[in-house]
Structures are given as C-alpha cells and as structure tokens.
Subunit: 475 residues, 2 copies
C-alpha cells in the first residue's frame, strides 16, 4: 500500500469545485474518455472522478486549494500528447485541463517576448508569431501539444541543434502551486542571478511541482531565408560520422536529422508519395541526413550550401540534393514528420524511448540496439535528431500478447538505457519521465538524486497531491 493517503471527491467537495469553476466541471459519466490517457496507451488508462476545464489562473488556484485541503489528488493536463503517461490520473481524483486557456495575450515586440496562456498550442503560436515577423524556435514533432506541456517536459525538437530547447525560451511564468498559491517567476528580461532559479526547476518538472497557467516566451526575428539539403549515404556509419564534422564547421544547421532507409520507405508508403531517391549511380542509399540552414539572404545561404556540400562529400556522402522551393522543403519535412504516425498506423502495441547519446556515439549506439533487437519478438524502428544525439527508438508489434510485449520491452529498455548511460548520455531528451519511465530513472539517477528530487517535491507539495507517483517517487 502507498505511504500516501488520498481521499475521493465527496458530493460536498464536488459542489465546492463547481462553485470555484462554474460551468467548467464535469464528473462521473459526463467525463470525456480522452482524459483517461495520453498518446501512449501502454502507460495506463484511468478515468478521473472529476474534470475541470479551467479558463483562468484563479480557477486553477481555487480548485487546487480545495483539493489540497481535502487531500484529493490532482493531475494537470495540456493537450494529452505526452508519451510517458505523465497526464494519466493514476490515482483518480481531479484532472485539471488547461486546454481552454488558449489565448495569445500580448506581444512585446521591442523586448521580443510573447505572453500566452498555457493552453495555447505550439502551432497556434508558431503561425501567429510568424505573422508578426517572429520565430518561436522550439519545434517538437508534435505541433498540437500545448506550450504548457512543452515547458513541463522541456520539449526539444528539430531546431534544438541550433536554437536550444524550450527551457531556453521561457522567460517568465505564472504557476499555481499544489497549495493553491499563485506564484510569478522570472521576468521578461534575459538575465537573472536573483536567488535559486525556481523558473528552471519548474521547467521539465512535468506538472508535479505546480500547474503552469501563463508563460512569457522569448521570440527571435524570423530568419529571412531557409534551405534544406538532403544528403545521401550508402551506409549509416558514414552518415553518422558526418555529423560531428558538420557541427565543427561552424555552419550551425537549424536542424540536422538522420533517417534510415526502412523508416523512410514506411513513411513514404504511409503518405503514398515517394520523396527521397532510393539509389544513386547504382549504389543503394541506406541513410539520409536532412539538414536545414537559415540565414539573412540568398547569398549567405548559397555560401553555406557550398561549404556544407564540401564537408559532407569529403565525409563520404554520395550526393547532396538542395530543396530550395517551398514545395520541396515541405515534402522532405513531411516525410520526416510522419514517422511516428506511420509507425502508429502499422502497429497495435507500441512503446518507445528517447535517449540522448553524444553525437559521436550515435552509430555505436544504434549498432548495439540493432544487435540486441534480434533477441526480441517485437520490431525495432528508430530515427532521431542527429545534431544533438537525441534518438527515438520504437518497439512495435501487431501480434504479441500485451503481457509478453511488456515483459520483453522492459528487458529491452533496461539494456538500451544502460548503454546510453554508459556512453555518457541521458535517458530522456525531450519526452520526460512521467510514470512510465520512473523505474528506469531510479536506476540511472541513483538514490541521492532521487532523494533530493523527492525532497524538493515535498517542499512544493506537502500533501503530495499534485500529479502523484510521477517523475521522482513511486506510490
């Protein structure tokens, strides 16, 4: 039994919740089934007793305060696009959705920041900022995630190789603590050395230390020109060993993705469109680099293309294709962006991890993964962000029994995580821990780190009611 005592929502508390968030509370049979899980159903489905679709910081705070007083567990949720069970209400209780807090509040064009509610979707901000001449650089594959969710997992994405992860764009936030207190952290300015960085602690804490309700995010001027190169390789080894050379060149690609033959074909077949060549002058193409550069003018980009081509051809590439029209860029990136969808469409049971390894260890690591994959019944598919070593490894089966799949995946993941750690990596680059990856984090982070994390959790959440059993302690 858990060391924590949680209470259920009583009829009296339900009435109090309805009064705190009038018109935004559903309960029992009324609750939409979407709220029982995130995008990775293998991490469980549990219905919350009550759902509050909050529309303001004050509503979130009032609900949180009531639940804290009554020791009722609360699970925060954005768009539910997570992959580690972080938004699954594993103890039932109340689920607070921020999805309806979806207003872009204001731009400060002189200081180049935007203030948004936490439920604004990534693509909603990206499109709107573009109209103002700005780029919001973080670019995770899932464009329908909320920005609050992105902050909670420190989401990375394609452009992290040049522009960094979500953490680097969070200037300030409003957060509701597990006690119901409202806290403003940070400022619109870029520098701070004003006490412990509670802001940075909150980023990546997966809704366990507070519920982010508002964000001030850094923007950059929209680069004027963008070009994508498709680089063809006969072998994965050549492809991967090109990456550190490109990074050392000083060229600063905006994105740098590697793709293996098999997953490219799967995605093309899913999209019913052939985008990438399969052979080059009689040689089979087994690996691709997809490289994007941005810059101020065509001339600068021409220079970059030329220098990049030299680097990759010297490193063993077969050829370089330049996607310089809008349609060609769109097609190339559409194929890359559909990997997860293509995998999902072709499999019944799915699990994944998103380890990070040093960029010069990617080939070594993938060779290891392929060699052990043979010992399991499921199929293994992988792709990833070559520029920062963040790899996505999928285990897929359409015919295994769930229990056997889980058992084998657990065994496989342990080996994968151990290898990534041995190579000096991290167990998650951008998806987080949730409750699905907690046992692995415990092994890798060790007891001292886990003790400190749990201690921090207790400081923020004395009753341990906010997103219980996630990230840093088991129930």
């Amino acid at each position: 039994m858990s060391e924590y005592q949680y209470e259920s929502v009583t009829p009296e508390l339900l009435e109090a919740l309805k009064a705190a968030a009038p018109g935004h509370v559903t309960y029992g049979d009324e609750v939409n089934e979407d709220f029982e899980r995130d995008e990775m159903p293998i991490y469980g489905k549990v219905m919350p007793q009550v759902v509050v679709e909050a529309t303001s910081t004050e509503e979130v705070a009032a609900v949180m305060k009531l639940c804290n007083e009554h020791h009722v567990p609360v699970t925060p949720r954005g768009a539910g696009t997570g992959l580690v069970g972080g938004a699954v209400p594993i103890e039932g209780g109340v689920l607070i959705s921020t999805a309806k807090m979806n207003k872009i509040l204001s731009y400060d064009t002189e200081n180049m920041v935007v203030r948004v509610q936490a439920g604004v979707l990534l693509n909603q901000l990206a499109d709107d900022a573009a109209k103002q001449g700005f780029l919001y650089p973080p670019d995770p594959g899932e464009k329908f995630a909320t920005l609050g969710g992105n902050v909670s997992t420190n989401a990375g994405g394609m452009r992290a190789v040049k522009y960094g992860t979500t953490r680097d764009y969070v200037r300030a936030m409003t957060v509701v603590l597990p006690t119901g207190e409202i806290l403003h952290l940070g400022a619109s300015v870029s520098k701070s050395s004003s006490g412990y960085s509670l802001l940075n602690l909150m980023v990546g804490s997966e809704g366990t230390l507070g519920i982010v309700t508002e964000l001030t995010l850094k923007l950059i001027p929209m680069p004027k020109e963008v070009v994508t190169l498709v680089v063809l390789f006969e072998s994965l080894d050549d492809c991967i060993s090109t990456v550190p050379k490109l990074m050392r060149s000083g060229l600063q690609p905006q994105a740098l993705e590697f793709m293996e033959r098999e997953i490219v074909r799967l995605s093309e077949s899913y999209l019913e469109r052939s985008t990438f060549p399969q052979t080059y002058q009689g040689s089979e193409i087994n690996a691709y680099l997809l490289v994007t550069f941005d810059g101020d003018d065509e001339e600068q980009l021409s220079g970059m293309i030329e220098r990049a081509s030299e680097v990759v051809l010297d490193a063993g590439a077969l050829d370089v294709l330049v996607a310089d029209t809008a349609q060609m860029k769109k097609d190339a990136w559409a194929a890359r962006s559909s990997f997860l969808e293509a995998i999902e469409a072709n499999t019944k049971l799915l699990d994944e991890c998103d380890v990070v390894v040093p960029v010069n260890e990617i080939a070594h690591f993938l060779t290891f993964v392929k060699s052990i994959a043979q010992d399991y019944t499921f199929e293994v598919k992988s792709f990833g962000h070559a520029g920062d070593g963040n790899l996505h490894i999928y285990t897929c089966s359409s015919d295994m029994e769930l229990e056997e799949f889980r058992k084998q995946v657990d065994n496989f993941m342990e080996k994968v995580y151990a290898k990534a750690t041995e190579l000096g990596g991290q167990i998650s680059g951008e998806h987080g821990i949730g409750h699905g990856k907690l046992p692995y984090l415990e092994k890798v982070a060790g007891p001292v780190s886990m003790r400190l994390m749990k201690g921090i959790k207790e400081v923020f959440d004395p009753n341990m009611i906010l997103n219980p059993g996630k990230v840093c302690y088991k129930l």
Copy 2:
C-alpha cells in the same frame, strides 16, 4: 540569536581535517587575510578559523563530511572576485577554496565540450580553448574569476546578448553536497528531460546547495571574423532607443554595450589614453554604443556593418566608427573593460547593484536613477549591457563616513530595486545575492518564493552548514 546552532573547529576536528586534506589546511594566524572578504569589502570581513585549499573532489567531500558531522559552517570560495559577500565566511568555521583545483582536464572536440576543475580561471579557459579553435562564449568583465564561481552566480557578461549566460554552457558537473556525498549531474549531451533539473538548480545557487568541483562546459567553433563598431550619439535617449531596433534587425550583435560620456572620460583618464571622440561636427557626444559582430567571413561582416550602420543612423546616431584592426578593437574594449577599475581607483567607499530591466526601459530607468541620485551625498556612476538591459549602478564616495554611506546607499538601493521590479526587471543579472543583497531579494521575491528556496536549501543541507545566511535566509 540565530535559530541555527553552529560549532567551532575543535583541536580534534582540526586534526581530522588535516588528515582528510594533508598539506592543504591552514588555521589561526596562518590563514591568509585574503580569505576574509570578497571584492566588495562593504559586505564584511570575517576570518575563517580554518582554510582548506582543496586539490580534489575527494578532499572537498571528506572535509565537508567532517564539518557536517560536527555542525561546523563551511564557506566555499573560488577566486574571491564576487561583489555581494557570497564568499565571506560570516559564521567563521571552515573555508574551502577551490582555487588550486585549476586543471583543464580534457577536450572532447567531436561533441564540443571541455571538462575542467572548478578552480580554472575564466581567462585560462578562454585562452586555451582558442588554441583548440573554440570559443567559450561567457565573457563576464572579471576575467580572473573561477569557472566554479561563474557557475555559482550564473555569470553573464558582454557576449550574453548573443550567446546567453553561463547557465547555457553547463552540460554537467560534479558537486559535493553539504552531507559530503559526491553527485554527478548532467551529461555531455545538450538535451535532457530526465527528472527535475538539479543541474539548473545548482547553477546560480552561490555555493549554498553544494560545492561544484568539476564542470563539463559547452564550446562553440571560434568565429572566424570579429568587428567592433563605435556608434556616437548626442543624447543618451537616442542611444538607448536604438538598442531594440538593432535587436529586431536580426543582425545578432555578439556584444552591445552603452557608455555615457562621463564614465568614458574617467576610464580614459585612468588608462592615460584617449580612445573615443568627444565631439562630432561641432556636436558634443554624450553617449556611445559599442557593438561587436562576429561571422564566418569578411564579406558577411561587411554586409552586417552596412546594415547595422543604416539602422543606427536612421535611429539618430551621429556617426559610426569601424574598429577593424586588432589594436583598435583592443583599445575600444580596454576602455570599456576598465570602468570598474577606474571607479575603484577613484573612490574609497563603494557599493553597487546589477539590476536588469527590459531593453526598452533602460533610458526610463536611468533617468529615474539620475533624478533620485541628487538626493544623496555619494556620486552615482552607471554603465551596462544595453543588449540585455543588465545595468551596473555604482555608488561612490571618498569623503563620507561609513555608517552614513551605508544608510544612504540602503535607502537609494531600495528605490532602485523597486523601480527595476516595477518595470518588469530582476534585481541581479549576474552578480547574485550573497548576503549583501538578501534583504532586497526578500522584498522583491516575496514570502512564497523565499519559503520554497529555504525549503530546497533544507533538503540539500539538513544542518544548514554550507554557506549559511546566504541567498535565501537570514541567520
């Protein structure tokens, strides 16, 4: 009386400390007087009972463990160049200096990181990295600070406007906890979403949560070309209002400093060299922007100079001077870099703050500071990082009594901090809180943030012995 009980170093403990760090322990009269204070003597001078000049993580850990067991306070110290009393051993006890842990351990050129001991000086790494073709971007004014100290205050500096602060370059660290446990945080990789970011919590915690002993820092390829522009203005208002325009242009200056007439003359007189023009076609020059751009080739930089000149001349600059020879760049930056030294040489009593305000509020803020400065006996001198709104405001007197100076400065600083906060700023951009700025942080951060910070401190340091009375709680 303090709520905390601290013990003195007994003869028995002294023997145990000597055994733990043989040859590296001094005590009583042997202790070098430098260890009683940092660079800002107004924040107190207290001699430690014992100094340990540690040479390894293991020595730090052994000393820390003994002190924790005996409830003896420990103050960590790098080069002692701090400005807020952070390294003053206000409770006596043991001071652990990391200055002798000054080895650059290894470069990983493929992943572009360097591993160093925490006592390596900033200029030592900068010079060494340059020989390998790399730039370590953080560039605080004080080049003789240790990297451990830079990490502890999240030091910023001149190049933060393009490259960010120290936080952005810390990939991994070895840290000795107040309990004496050794913890490794982070990895050489750039992305992580693997539990609470203890690494980011440690950055900027000013040696209160642990003693950093080793760091893995991100490097970037050395930019091939660098050019500095000196932009002349008749008024400070025109000068400052140019800044957001330059930032919006997408040109990304590496550094962007503003300087007022008076401090430039002071610095030139201190250096006995005249560098900047004082008039332009009959107009008096009252403010300067010092702008540095870096890039890949001369052609790209020529384009940048041209575009930047257009922007600043449109915004009201009188003229733009291009410092494109090594000597001209050196002279221009030498004048800027000597501001603090020039002030120190000309004053007996000195205090300062390093608030941050939004870049479009700099002029507004400085006008406020000048207007209230008239109410005080001391002189006020200011300069700062225009690109990120981080301003350095100095209060200087050579004839006031200490007590009166302190009283007036306290009154002045309260108003300055309140104004910066009102404008959406932060009370320290890069110097930190130490114990000198603690009362101001309490006012600005508020009781909830202070409670959380102190709670975190207790999690890491149950006996509250590491750097007591700094950052987040008074003794």
